[in-house]
Symmetry: D2
Subunit: 317 residues, 4 copies
């Protein structure tokens, strides 16, 4: 256990590394970034080590480093078993970075890291039971039960985007049908808008105009909705309605006191999605009147949640 005031958090994404020195209150005292080549694990490790050493030089009292990345992490949190966006397969990222920096390095799934940050310092503060949902290209999730991150028997817990919500429903990138992510994610939004442009070109005019000839994606839906286009608004409400259905399923399994909803799509269109999600959540929740009802909040920490949470998790290891 190295419960020092300062730890370093690193968030390794497909295109860049963001690192920061984070204090015990979750404040980022200093930041540095490096570009990454997702196909070159060596380059990524070198760049991450460089960013860590850069910060460690400035804050020599730092002893531990938390690294957040998308993918499956080994139970001892030293190794990336599989990463969707980086060419890591059973890569001992933690040991390698420890060797390059002389510090204790702990790896954490990025969704878990972000949820932890929101739970400790953000809008999930003080919730012992919390679910975080990150609405981006996909739908990422994390579950905190009785104050602890749920990791599962195989490190595959909280794959909340792969809750099945529609039998025989839309195909998902995972190969299955009817996953929540196929209804409530950036990819789903784009696909649905594209289909709508075929089914009802007149109704899709505002979205198509926002796209200006480019393939319709989620940002065009949001843009058209911002201008009051009723079709785009309905598309986002539909997103929210499926999200709320998924949240009712999550509540049936882990009964959170708080849902924290973040991610790029939430930042762009949370005001259009979250109310529909909240309504559907309550409409689909079993046992109303005999149970408390979770609060639904948007995330507070934005892009830095991953590195803040990773730092905090490392500090408590």
């Amino acid at each position: 256990m190295s419960d020092h005031a300062l730890a370093i958090g690193v968030d390794i994404g497909g295109t860049k590394i963001a690192a920061g020195a984070v204090d015990a209150a979750g404040r980022v005292l200093a930041r540095t970034t490096r570009p990454t080549d997702p196909n070159d694990p060596n380059q990524i490790e070198a760049a991450a080590a460089e960013a860590i050493n850069d910060l460690a030089l400035r804050y020599p009292e730092v002893q531990s480093v938390g690294v957040a990345a998308a993918g499956f992490v080994s139970p001892d949190r030293t190794t990336m078993l599989f990463a969707p966006n980086i060419a890591w397969r059973n890569q001992p990222v933690g040991d390698k970075l420890a060797a390059r920096t002389g510090l204790v390095v702990v790896i954490e799934n990025d969704a878990n890291a972000a949820a932890w940050a929101e739970n400790r310092f953000g809008n999930g503060r003080a919730a012992r039971n919390m679910v975080m949902l990150t609405l981006g290209t996909g739908l990422g999730g994390s579950v905190i039960a009785d104050g602890e991150l749920i990791r599962g028997a195989f490190g595959a817990a909280a794959e909340l985007g792969h809750i099945k919500v529609v039998p025989g429903g839309h195909f998902c990138g995972c190969g299955q049908e009817g996953c929540l992510e196929a209804y409530a994610s950036g990819t789903a939004l784009a696909r649905y808008a594209q289909q709508l442009a075929v089914a009802n070109p007149t109704g899709a005019e505002a979205m198509l105009a926002a796209a200006g000839g480019e393939p319709l994606d989620g940002s065009h839906v949001t843009a058209a909705a911002r201008q009051g286009d009723p079709t785009a608004i309905k598309v986002l409400e539909r997103f929210g309605t499926y999200l709320g259905l998924g949240m009712a399923v999550m509540a049936a399994v882990v009964d959170p006191g708080v849902f924290v909803i973040g991610g790029g799509i939430t930042e762009a269109a949370g005001d259009l999605i979250v109310p529909a999600a909240a309504e559907a959540f309550l409409n689909k929740l079993s046992g109303r009147g005999f149970r408390g009802e979770a609060e639904i909040r948007t995330a507070a920490l934005g892009n830095e949640a991953g590195l803040i949470g990773a730092a905090d998790l490392a500090r408590h290891t």
Copy 2:
């Protein structure tokens, strides 16, 4: 903490109380039962106290008592907030029994107690992450994550029968549509067989014969299936297929290493339901090849799981 070798476990059902003295290996050394009147909380408490005192007299070293009952339990495990089958609303059952017996009394949801017993002494032994499913009139569930029972923010976690699996699907006793319990429970089995007798009376002949003029229920489906009736076998496989779909959803949330399936319907027809559930579970599981796959086992401890688990939970309090 009273970690003595012996504790008393009590399982309070709608029609009887079963109690036993349970040792640290989960063995039931002595048993006693009492009938109950579900509409008379005083009678139930008196009968439970009597059963406890009876066993305590024989095993004076006992210091703690665990009580399992269906319903929502307060976070401090002293009070039944709501019970579906007994007239308890915010009833301080633990304190009342403590006063009547002079022992430490802890209340636990019966599904949680049974899951705990299977996890410690039964077929979920050594699984740090486990889901238990109890197939009876309804579908009860329990989740153990990293060795701990998941209770949720409002004591309503693991309401696994209320995972929504079919949008716009069958009505559930909870008022919602498409709950897993409406597809995979004794009630669902009866309802489906009754409908089938209308839709296709010829196909339902063997089940109707098994019912002998009584309203079709799950036992008639099982009986006809036992005699090789292809329709009844398909009805049970359909039950299993929906169960497996639900299990894939549970895996997406809490990623258990083991599913333990118990309850009266499992005892009667597990060999017809569980293989279909296992097949559907794997067919619907996202991420195969990148993750471990939970084992699926039937329960080992039968009806006594509740009192064994309650005793063990009390012992560790």
Copy 3:
């Protein structure tokens, strides 16, 4: 062919017979009614003959009689093969009434008769391709293609309430799952409101108040909606949304130019249901932009549509 100006139409229901003398413009010149005992076919036939003879005495030029009743009619239109509400099984109703009255008697399914009347004299006038939907306790339907009633190979065409719209969906009185009638009928409305009262008692308060202690049925939903209750309004919109989905399916099969929507529920709440149905119909219609879109109208002839249509069909036999 007896194409006289006047014919008699008879509508035999479960509780009464309504008969009228109908001219070639569909006007009812005279009316008479008789009570019926649904369990006594002899009484029904005697009462129907009495009503016919009563009118025939007043209009001796009448030569043909059309009889509308719910159920399956033989292809030669002389016999009721099966009636849901009357104890008729292979009953030669036409021959019996001909013998009692000395007139030519033709039997017609009541939904077909009503559709024919709307098509000839009501709001489907001049539509060579039309679908009629009757929203009552169940959902009845009729299809007119190229000016002719579609009866099907077994007299079972236009069972539009039994279009399957939700796989694994609500049970239907026919024993199947997911029939349109289980989502868009008086029975469905009542059942859904009852469930809602369990799932969300607070939301259902206005409907429960309208019911005043009686079991919730469709009329209470309508009453609450009339007073502006948002839950009741949503329940009726949901009814309409499923109806519109079903209409898109009908359009994919028979491509009507006009939908005529009638029945008691339409009279009570058509203004709340039909707009939602129209929106869903267009949203779900394949091929928009490459095909015409059916008009959606409410029925004009009310309860007398059955006898008017039966008379007209008899006149043209």
Copy 4:
């Protein structure tokens, strides 16, 4: 009406024109084909005229020509309003070919023409109420009611592939969700097999081996099923199960006495699809016991059904 013994039938596809001289018994006495360029309407018309004139020279008694093509046909059957595979929009194909050949030319939708041929000369012979389903890249359909082709108010009847069978289900080429064609067509088969290869690569091995590195399509599924691969067999049964569900919907609307199932996929794998379709059809049919049940047959006339039917329809014009 030109009811001569001989007529010419022409089937215009995306890659070739097939024409034949057809006698009153539906026999093709002579054949000729021409390649087509789908992007050049002039070339297509020239080639069709050439094929017609070639046959007319050999059979000078011919007076009428029927032309079958995919797409929407005007009610007067002279004009292609829209063709999915050829650059025709409001193209007066009939008049142009009449001008080039001096014969009476009638246009017919190709699915209707094929259904007509099966109904007059093939496996739907003598069925006054029949549905034909053509399983190819898409799912084409045609309805014959009381001996007449159903065309609908806008020429868009019998778009049976666009019956909605799964709310929120797979996207269809038409822009909608849950169309039957998205579950029961060559495109659906390919898509489903591709997804399965992601979800369960081990299970998909035999299909992938059949594909030999090419993108998985329906033919690889069929090939693997032919070799006994259980996954491929299940994929085809699933196809059949959805088809049967769709057929139950069709029966609820038009109540055919016979379904005739044809098309390339039926030829390749009908023995694997049709039994599953028949089982599902009966399982989903409302009113069993009170109604006849349609026979299900495979088509008899293969690729020539379109030109045979077009010729016969022209002969009767």
